[in-house]
Subunit: 360 residues, 2 copies
Amino acid sequence: MTDLRELSIDDIESLSVGAWILGTGGGGSSYLGLLNMRALYAEGYRVSLMQPADLADDDWVAAVSNMGAPLVGQERLTDSRTIARAVDLMERHTGYRFRGIMALEIGGGNSIQPLMAAAHLGRPVIDADMMGRAYPEAQMTSVAVGDLKPYPLSTVDCRGLESVVEKVPTWKWMERVSRKICVEYGSIASTCKAPRTGREVKDWGIHGTTTKAIEIGHAVREAQRRHEDPIAAILSVEPGKVLYRGKVMDVERRATEGFLRGRTRFDGIDEWKSTSMELAFQNEWIVAWQDGEPIAMSPDLICVLDSVTGEAVGTETIRYGQRVTVIALPCPPVFMTPKGLQHVGPRAFNYDIEFKSVFA
Amino acid sequence: MTDLRELSIDDIESLSVGAWILGTGGGGSSYLGLLNMRALYAEGYRVSLMQPADLADDDWVAAVSNMGAPLVGQERLTDSRTIARAVDLMERHTGYRFRGIMALEIGGGNSIQPLMAAAHLGRPVIDADMMGRAYPEAQMTSVAVGDLKPYPLSTVDCRGLESVVEKVPTWKWMERVSRKICVEYGSIASTCKAPRTGREVKDWGIHGTTTKAIEIGHAVREAQRRHEDPIAAILSVEPGKVLYRGKVMDVERRATEGFLRGRTRFDGIDEWKSTSMELAFQNEWIVAWQDGEPIAMSPDLICVLDSVTGEAVGTETIRYGQRVTVIALPCPPVFMTPKGLQHVGPRAFNYDIEFKSVFA
């Protein structure tokens, strides 16, 4: 017998808030996904959560995400059936029947995509992902660190376009080919990544991240309701650390090669009054410098939060004058290995800095 | 019992010459394909030709071609196994077993691609194609005129990249998505187009074009051997018409949007001494103007031939000073219909000219 936990719409509201925080500035807003789930729940659909440990070794699991430019994703509103079609296409292509559906990345809007697919297909969501946050590129996952097979990958869009990338020599090639397809679709595609066996999910998945996002979001929402400090609430459920409090002084943002890249600079308040902080981003926050010294960097999670509401501030929405609190959260151990750091350490983003964890 | 005709290497040499002439300036040289076939024949491989009429209605037929920039195709030499892998990928994706393999376009190098796949896979080549010549875009085929299903399409390359475009709303979308994949592969990919049933090939294929190309090539080669006029030899086997004889005075060529576009201008000799001719091309020759008047245009075949050897002059190789003879050959009837002209008439190439056949 497998324990399944049916998610309430309140859980999904919390997931939406928590996932945005775990998005470390990227992954896009999870709000549109939440709207879809509210509509599906109103129509009677329900989604359950299944633990990775309950998978059989030879089960097949679908890992899904939307891929593309975050801003386009907000203009072309998500139809919840689209991501289900990506999974359906993968089932037709491989002949597998998926036991459950998991997130590629728990950070941002992609945390909700597996729920939409699960609702339409009547399968559980697996309580795991492959990033434990959001990252911008296909090779920045635990399964890529584990050198698992990068293919096949299915892509669909709302027009009815459907493609499968059947074979690539490397994860970076998967990134290249699938991103070009997605750009031709109009810079947004719903994708089902390389199917994973239950054994692979148990060995290489990052477990419990849906639950973690729900807990973080729940803590923030409860604090908001009680007019308590939402940042303190996050730190009461996660072993994180406040890095900085300040005000946004400058944002420099450019869309390049399908990514949002740039920097932002803060002036400190409270105990950080006479110090400045600078953050660099590629979709997500990558490195934080305090007075010119790197003090936090990927793969540690750098989260920029609205100091009042505790909600995430995204790299695409951050603007002059916002009051923000920067916190760090610990990263999944798989990324702290030498192989993991090759995939997501500072040098993977072209910063010639030796990784040092905030939590070391 | 099905009649199969085993092709000799001499047949394939003739096919190579004749297909280049039917390429109407495009389709790329068929010489590299010929080199591959010589090597395969030396290793003992053989290829047979099967008539479309011998297909059962429910047989499946693979239609293959290389897709990409002709010049890249000459730099990255073709491995004959690559096109066989495109067919193999399609069989794995669909679960079909193909009865035979046919050309997408009989014009240029793509006339030889089905032979290479057929040699490796041990299937016959179907004596038919879907263009009766070469055209630059995916929607410029008899099967697109017939509104047959445009998908799926498989693409592979020599590195091991493999993708399937599973579904598109229109033939133009297939052109867009598959071309982007091909560009990301490095501007050259081997493709297997939407599988066709035997019934579809019998109804919508352009029949006998492999044989026709062999006959044209054979006529040219025999004339060369006997020091006779090769142009007259072509016109003895095909109901064509000489449009012009002259010398290349100017070539204007630009690579845009994945195509080779441009114009070339000739000065006349013999009876055309006091007239000029201008040809516009998009990979293939599209419109011919004599003294400013359009006298030949797609879908009629416009072939520019070397006046001495009778061999085709390609849009990518034509150069100042060449002595050329321009001939027209009749086009397959399917393209003369109103629907056919929508796909391949002058307006499909943005020339606001009412189609008038050279042979009307």
